[in-house]
């Protein structure tokens, strides 16, 4: 039996997940998870380093993340 409260909490979690995914706020967590599973020996960058690397990538190829008219 799940209470109304539990259901509401689940909905809030769902919305939070969606917003984080849509804004790509979750990119760092995803990258770290990817490194941990795929390349356990690779050094894990800090969030600051990771976010810098991401914008630098966009700098070098502006077609990434381009939007339309």
């Amino acid at each position: 039996m799940r209470s109304v409260l539990g259901r509401a909490a689940e909905m809030v979690r769902g919305v939070r997940w969606y917003v984080r995914e849509l804004t790509d706020e979750s990119a760092y967590d995803r990258y770290v998870a990817h490194l941990r599973t795929g390349h356990p020996d690779a050094p894990v960058p800090s969030r600051r380093e990771f976010e810098r690397m991401r914008t630098d990538r966009q700098e070098s190829d502006p077609r990434q993340g381009f939007r339309c008219c």
Binding site: E25, F50, R57
Partner: protein, 725 residues
């Protein structure tokens, strides 16, 4: 090489009760059909926007359920066992399998922009019916098909861009023509979008102030994300949106204060500011201005589109525009010249079929899609959503008084600059509106004048404020008007920055062939030079548009529409070639017919723009008329001086040559594609197909937005193997 792999048939719907499905889809079909029936048959009475919404949504549902499904499973044969690039090449950054609901949002935010909002507003000159028919039919049979098929083929090619696919599948010649066309189109796009902003902000201290404030807000957000709290996008976006709304409210205070004069800028001053902004923004690091602006404009874009959808559904306003106006047949409309065929299709452009989407559907999205089966939802579904935005823009343009609509969208050279004069001229077209009503409309949105506010954005803003004011009351009308202006200007400015960067990238790549260092994208002198060239080019069109005696939008918007539709022709030609080469010859009509239609419409429009003997339509005829005037020493209206006459002659020549060159480039691509198709049919052994090899997928994910019962069971069985979400 052709990869014939295990054909999985998606026959899963058999187990659901068939009768229920039949009943549901019959009801949907009836809703759509009744919408169309009322729109088509109602004459001389006011029709509710509800019918337009019903017609559009009913048709979209049918198109998605039947046509898109047929294309996905019968033609493309999407394979749910085949791993996508996101799964095979997962690097945790740009290649990563993304939940379909998230990717739908991403892709939609990337394809939706100012185009589908502006085009339908201008096309309303011919009445709401032709526009609605093309927006809905065009998207179902052409626009959404293009987006889905490009997405599918790019997914099969590790997310190759449209240009790369053109080069690999058609050949270097057609590929080069496609690249050159894409560059020219980008320049025209930026020039015309900037013109829309100038026309919206000129002489409007409120709008200019709030838009100017977006720059410090974005800088602040950029600093926050770079230094204070890296990656916290949601919180910084909320802060940004709050500041943006504050800037919007503050705009009214500024407009009523002694600062008003500082922010009341003439169009030519705004041109200098915009070109300067575009240049500086494009050489600054991405994190400073572009990335934060992008978050801000995406937030505002999705929010406003949702608000508008709610507004239209709640208010269900009445359409005041005629279903079909006389301008449709006579071809002498003040907003843009030319008759319904081909110009209504050219003007609507993005809302029904947009070449630019092919650049998003190849490149970014294919690297993130989880399953091939999801191309229907992401490619076709997103485009249906974009089309519904275009329908809303058309509703917004049709709910305002037609007299006001024409007074706002006709060039100053035609209606003059007093309300008395405008009222008289618009009245002579058969749309009565008193000078008092025109002045009152401007006062209600707190603008000094609404006459000749061409470009679509101000008209859309008046329509939006009309719809929202029906929900929130009249007191908020001016706020909503400026809210809509801000929202459009915001993402057009972001597009100027991003577009300049893309154009520069193409230019660096090309110049790199001549002088090596240019190819290094971080070589500073090269960066500044190429940015300067790109800004100079679109700045030229912007300058010309602002100083055009015949009306900048009137002259340039058709070239913008033609170039967008020509890019779509390139994309459809690539798709058709790929269908033929991948052994789907009998289904080549899926993109072949839209290609034939699009090429006919666009090349007819180009032909008329170049060769028409009507000086309102044909650029060279126009040139001749005004040149003869100069030779005879006469000043012909709407020119006011000999200088104006010379300006018209120069502009018409540039516009005419440009139209001809663009059309030629696209003809080259189509002919080259046809050559490759014919060769393949005759001697298949000569063709190569650069499809990525087959790898079995381990991801379990539903194809559509809502998982079917089978998909739920499958996901249940595969717990642990799938994605954590």
């Amino acid at each position: 090489m052709r990869t014939e792999n295990a054909q999985n048939s998606p026959r899963t719907s058999r187990t659901t009760p068939r009768t229920r499905t039949i009943v549901v889809w019959t009801v949907v079909a009836l809703v759509g059909a009744s919408g169309w029936a009322v729109l088509a048959l109602a004459r001389g009475e006011n029709v509710s926007a509800a019918w337009m919404v019903a017609a559009a949504l009913g048709s979209y549902a049918i198109g998605y359920r039947f046509y898109a499904k047929f294309i996905a499973y019968k033609v493309l044969k999407v394979d749910r066992n085949r791993a996508t690039p996101a799964e095979r090449l997962n690097n945790g950054i740009d290649f990563h399998p993304t939940d379909r609901r998230v990717l739908l949002g991403h892709h939609f935010a990337a394809i939706a922009g100012a185009g589908p909002l502006v085009g339908p507003v201008l096309a309303a000159q011919m009445g709401y019916l032709p526009g609605t028919i093309w927006i809905v039919a065009g998207v179902i049979f052409a626009g959404a098909v293009q987006d889905m098929v490009v997405l599918f083929f790019s997914t099969r090619r590790d997310g190759r861009s449209l240009g790369q696919m053109a080069r690999e599948e058609i050949g270097p010649f057609g590929g080069a023509a496609a690249l050159l066309a894409a560059f020219a189109i980008m320049i025209i796009l930026l020039g015309v979008l900037a013109l829309v902003v100038v026309n919206a902000l000129a002489e409007s201290p409120w709008g200019t102030f709030s838009i100017a404030m977006t720059v410090p807000i974005a800088l602040l957000m950029g600093f926050y994300l770079r230094v204070l709290r890296p990656g916290r996008v949601t919180e910084v976006s909320l802060i940004g949106v709050a500041l943006l709304l504050l800037a919007l409210v503050a705009g009214r205070w500024v407009a009523e204060s002694s600062w008003a004069d500082t922010f009341t800028l003439a169009p030519s001053t705004l041109v200098v500011w915009l070109v300067g902004y575009g240049f500086i923004a494009s050489i600054l690091p991405v994190w400073m201005l572009l990335a934060p602006r992008d978050y801000l404009s995406t937030f505002m874009k999705i929010g406003t589109i949702l608000l508008l959808a709610l507004g239209v559904v709640f208010a269900l306003p009445t359409l005041k525009m005629d279903a079909v106006t006389d301008f449709a047949t006579r071809g002498d409309g003040p907003v843009f010249a030319g008759s319904l065929f081909p110009f209504v299709f050219i003007t609507i452009a993005c809302g029904a079929l947009s070449g630019f989407h092919a650049l998003i559907s190849s490149g970014t999205t294919p690297k993130m899609i989880q399953k091939e089966t999801q191309v229907r939802l992401i490619g076709y579904g997103s485009m249906l959503m974009e089309s519904s935005v275009a329908v809303m823009a058309l509703v917004a343009a049709s709910v305002i008084d037609p007299g006001l609509y024409f007074a706002m969208n006709a060039p100053a050279g035609v209606i003059g600059d007093t309300v008395q004069n405008a009222s008289q001229v618009v009245g002579s077209w058969g749309y009565q509106i008193s000078p008092q009503a025109l002045a009152e409309a401007a006062r209600q949105v707190e603008e000094s004048s609404l006459l000749s506010r061409t470009g679509g954005a101000p008209t859309l803003a008046v329509g939006v404020s009309e719809i929202f004011a029906q929900v929130t009351g009249d007191g908020m009308r001016a706020f909503w008007y400026h809210f809509a202006i801000m929202f459009e200007a915001l993402f057009i400015l972001t597009a100027l920055d991003a577009g300049t960067r893309v154009g520069r990238f193409m230019l660096q790549d090309t110049l790199g062939n001549v002088y090596k260092p240019f190819r290094n994208v971080s070589w500073k002198p090269g960066l500044v030079i190429t940015s300067g060239i790109v800004c100079g080019l679109w700045g030229y069109f912007l300058w010309v548009g602002v100083h055009e005696p015949l009306g900048g939008i009137n002259q340039l918007f058709p070239i913008f529409g033609i170039s967008n539709q020509l890019l779509a022709a390139v994309a459809l030609a690539v798709c058709t070639t790929l269908l033929v080469k991948s052994g789907r010859l009998k289904w080549a009509w899926i993109t072949g017919v839209p290609l034939a239609w699009d090429a006919t419409v666009t090349l007819t429009a180009s032909w008329q723009k170049v060769f028409s003997s009507d000086p309102r339509v044909g650029f060279f005829q126009q040139r001749e008329v005004y040149q003869d005037g100069i030779d005879a020493g006469k000043v012909l209206p709407p020119a006011k001086s000999m200088d104006d006459m010379h300006t018209i002659v120069t502009n018409s020549t540039v516009d005419g040559v440009l139209s001809a060159v663009l059309a030629l480039l696209v003809v080259v691509v189509i002919v080259d594609a046809a050559r490759v198709c014919v060769r393949h049919v005759r001697r298949p052994a000569l063709s190569t197909l650069s499809e990525a090899r087959y790898v079995e997928s381990k991801i379990v994910a539903p194809a559509g937005l809502f998982p079917t019962r089978e998909e739920k069971e499958e996901a249940h069985d595969a717990v642990g193997a799938g994605q954590g979400g």
